[in-house]
C-alpha cells in the first residue's frame, strides 16, 4: 500500500462482505417462502425478509463503493486522505445506523417503526428500496456528505486523474439523486415518476460511472496498460452509458400513468443500453490481452473479466429481453423482472465490488497477492457463485415466461396464485441453486483465512 491512509478501506470491505452474507441468507429465506408459504411466518413475513434482502444489498454495495473510493483516491491523487479519522468515524456511524435499521425491520411492525421514527413529519417510507425510516435516510445523507467532503478535499490537494474524476462524479451523483427519496407526493403517478430518479438514475446512471472507474483502476493495476488508453476507454464507456441510460429511464414510464410517447423514447434508448456493457466486456478482455505485466493476483483479474461478461449478460441482455414496450406490456412486474434484477446486480455491482476487494485486500494485508491456495479457493468461489447466478436467472426466466403465459397471454388467463402454484418447480430449482450460491460465498469468505507461502512481498 502506497499511502497509509488507504487502510481505512479495510473495515469498509469487511463490513461489505459480512452484509453480503446476510443478504444471501435472507434471499434463501424468501426463496423458500415462495414454495413453503408459511415458512418462518409470522416471525419473518415475506415483506420484512425482502426489505432486509434489498436494503442489505444497497448498504453492502455502498460500503464497497466507499471502501473502494478510500482505497483508490489517495493512490490516484498521490496524496494522503484528507482525514482518515473522519472516514473511520463515518464507518461506525453508517454501520450502526444500518444495523439499527435492519433490526428495526425485524423486531418492530413496520407501521410502528414508521410512527416511532418520524414518518408522520415527512412521509418517505413504504416505497420499494426506499423503505428506510426518515432518520436513516437523513443519516445516509450525512454520511454521504462527510464522505464526499473528505474525498473532495483529498482530490483538491492532489493529482487529478480521469479515473478519480469519474469516480467522484458517480459518487456525487449518487448522493444528489438520493435526495429524491425525500420527495413523496400524494399523486401516485408523480410519486412513481420521481421514485425512478433515485432507482433508475442510480443503477443505470451514476452507479455505472462508479463501476467503470473501479474496473478501470483495477485493470490499470493488473495489466500495466497505459493509463491514457484505459482512461480513453473509460470515457467512451460512460458516454455510451449516459446517452442511452438517461432517456432510457423512459422504459419505466410505460404503464404508470405517464404520456404514451415514453413507450417510444424508453424502448429505443433502453434498447441501446446493452452497448456500453458490451463495450465494457470488450474493454476488459482487450486490456488483459494487451497486458504488459503478469500480476500475481490472478483472482482479481478473473473477477474483473467476470464483471464485464456478467454485467453485459445481466444488465445488457436480460435487460433488453423485456425492455421493448410491446414485450414489457406482458412481462412488466413478473419473474422476468426478478431474473433481470438478480443477474444485473450481481454481474455489475456485486462483482465489481468483489473485484476491487480482491485486488486491494491482499495489499491492505501487506502482500501483493494472496497465496496460490487462497487464490485457487477464491477462483472456485467465483465460478460457483457466477454459475449459480446464471442458473438462478435461467430458472426465474422460465418461471416468468410461464407466468406470463398462464396469467396474461393465454386465451384463458388464470389468477396470480393459481399461476404461482403451477410454476413452483422452478422456484424449487432456484432455491437449490441459491444454496450453491451460498456455498460459493462461504468459500469466498474462507479464502481470506487460507494462508500458505506468500509468493510476493508487499507492493
Amino acid at each position: 500500500m502506497q499511502y497509509s491512509s488507504q487502510s481505512v478501506a479495510k473495515p469498509y470491505f469487511i463490513a461489505a462482505i459480512g452484509l453480503f452474507l446476510g443478504q444471501v441468507l435472507f434471499g434463501l429465506i424468501m426463496g423458500l417462502q415462495y414454495v413453503i408459504g408459511d415458512f418462518l411466518f409470522p416471525a419473518i413475513p415475506f415483506n420484512v425478509a425482502r426489505m432486509v434482502h434489498t436494503n442489505l444489498l444497497i448498504v453492502w454495495l455502498l460500503f464497497g463503493f466507499m471502501g473502494a473510493a478510500y482505497y483508490m483516491i489517495p493512490e490516484e491523487t498521490e496524496t494522503e486522505l484528507y482525514s482518515p479519522k473522519l472516514a473511520i468515524a463515518m464507518f461506525w456511524v453508517f454501520l450502526v445506523a444500518g444495523a439499527a435499521t435492519i433490526l428495526g425491520y425485524l423486531l418492530v411492525p413496520y407501521a410502528t417503526l414508521a410512527h416511532l421514527t418520524g414518518n408522520d413529519i415527512l412521509e418517505t417510507m413504504g416505497r420499494e428500496f426506499l423503505e428506510q425510516p426518515l432518520i436513516t435516510k437523513v443519516g445516509i445523507v450525512v454520511v454521504a456528505l462527510v464522505f464526499l467532503f473528505n474525498l473532495t478535499m483529498t482530490m483538491l490537494k492532489g493529482r487529478k486523474t480521469s479515473i478519480s474524476l469519474v469516480l467522484m462524479m458517480g459518487l456525487w451523483g449518487l448522493a444528489v439523486f438520493f435526495l429524491f427519496s425525500f420527495y413523496n407526493p400524494s399523486n401516485l403517478v408523480l410519486d412513481k415518476y420521481f421514485w425512478w430518479w433515485v432507482v433508475h438514475l442510480w443503477v443505470e446512471g451514476v452507479w455505472e460511472l462508479i463501476l467503470g472507474s473501479l474496473l478501470a483502476f483495477v485493470l490499470i493495476k493488473v495489466t500495466g496498460v497505459d493509463r491514457e488508453v484505459i482512461e480513453k476507454w473509460l470515457y467512451v464507456i460512460i458516454t455510451l452509458t449516459l446517452i442511452t441510460g438517461i432517456i432510457g429511464t423512459g422504459h419505466h414510464y410505460f404503464w404508470i400513468g405517464t404520456p404514451e410517447y415514453w413507450q417510444w423514447w424508453g424502448s429505443v434508448f433502453s434498447a441501446l443500453e446493452p452497448i456500453p456493457f458490451f463495450a465494457m466486456t470488450v474493454f476488459a478482455f482487450n486490456m488483459v490481452n494487451r497486458r504488459r505485466r503478469e500480476h500475481p493476483n490472478k483472482a482479481a483479474t478473473l473477477w474483473a473479466l467476470g464483471t464485464g461478461v456478467m454485467s453485459f449478460l445481466g444488465a445488457g441482455v436480460w435487460g433488453f429481453l423485456h425492455t421493448l414496450a410491446p414485450v414489457n406490456y406482458y412481462t412488466h412486474g413478473t419473474q422476468i423482472t426478478a431474473a433481470h434484477g438478480h443477474m444485473a446486480f450481481y454481474g455489475a455491482y456485486a462483482m465489481v465490488v468483489i473485484t476491487i476487494i480482491s485486488y486491494a485486500m491482499p495489499i491492505l494485508r501487506g502482500r501483493a497477492a494472496n497465496s496460490e491456495r487462497s487464490q485457487v479457493l477464491e477462483m472456485w468461489s467465483f465460478w460457483l457463485m457466477t454459475i449459480a447466478m446464471v442458473f438462478i436467472t435461467l430458472f426465474l426466466t422460465a418461471a416468468g415466461i410461464l407466468q406470463v403465459w398462464l396469467q396474461r397471454y393465454s386465451s384463458t388467463p388464470i389468477p396470480f396464485m393459481a399461476a404461482q402454484d403451477q410454476i413452483s418447480i422452478f422456484y424449487w430449482l432456484r432455491e437449490g441453486t441459491g444454496v450453491i450460491f451460498l456455498i460459493g460465498l462461504l468459500m469466498y469468505i474462507l479464502s481470506f483465512f487460507v494462508g500458505g507461502s506468500e509468493k510476493a512481498k508487499a507492493a
Binding site: 408459504g37 415483506n47 399523486n187 458516454t239 449516459l242 400513468g257
Partner: protein, 141 residues
C-alpha cells in the same frame, strides 16, 4: 480506436453528450408534467385517498405486492384489484388474514381500523382509475 482519437476528445464527447441528453430528459419531463394531469386521476385525489396511500406505505404493502407492476412479485397485482374484487371483498380479505392454510403464502394481519380500511380501499379505487395505457393485459393483473 485510431491514434487520432484522444482522451481529451473522448472526455469532451462525454460531457457534451451527457449535458445534451440530460437537458433532453428534463425537457421530456417538463412536457410529461403538463400531460400527466390528463391521465393521473387527480380529480379523485381526495383526503381519504391521501390517507389510504399512507396506510399502503406504512404497512409496506409493496414488500409483497405490485402496484401498476412495480413492487415485489410474491403476491397479486393490486393496481386493478378494486376492479377485480370490489371494495367489500378487499376489506373482508384484509381482515381475515392470515389464512393459516398449511404451506400457503401468508399475509400478516395489520390490525387496520375501519377508517384505515376504507381509506385504503379509496386509494386502491383511485389507483385503478389512473390511465395506464391499458395495462395490465387482463383483469388478473
Amino acid at each position: 480506436m485510431s491514434g487520432t482519437f484522444t482522451k481529451s476528445m473522448a472526455r469532451n464527447i462525454f460531457f457534451g453528450g451527457t449535458v445534451f441528453f440530460a437537458l433532453l430528459f428534463l425537457a421530456l419531463t417538463f412536457d410529461s408534467m403538463q400531460t400527466i394531469p390528463k391521465r393521473d386521476n387527480h380529480a379523485n385525489l381526495t383526503p381519504a385517498v391521501v390517507a389510504g396511500k399512507k396506510v399502503w406505505e406504512t404497512n409496506n404493502c409493496i414488500g409483497c405486492h405490485t402496484l401498476m407492476g412495480e413492487g415485489a412479485y410474491f403476491a397479486p397485482e393490486l393496481g386493478n384489484v378494486y376492479k377485480r374484487r370490489g371494495p367489500e371483498f378487499i376489506k373482508a380479505w384484509i381482515q381475515s388474514q392470515p389464512t393459516g392454510a398449511p404451506g400457503r403464502r401468508q399475509m400478516p394481519n395489520f390490525h387496520l381500523t375501519e377508517q384505515q380500511l376504507n381509506d385504503l380501499v379509496e386509494f386502491l379505487k383511485y389507483s385503478s382509475e389512473i390511465n395506464t395505457a391499458n395495462w395490465p393485459p387482463n383483469i388478473e393483473g
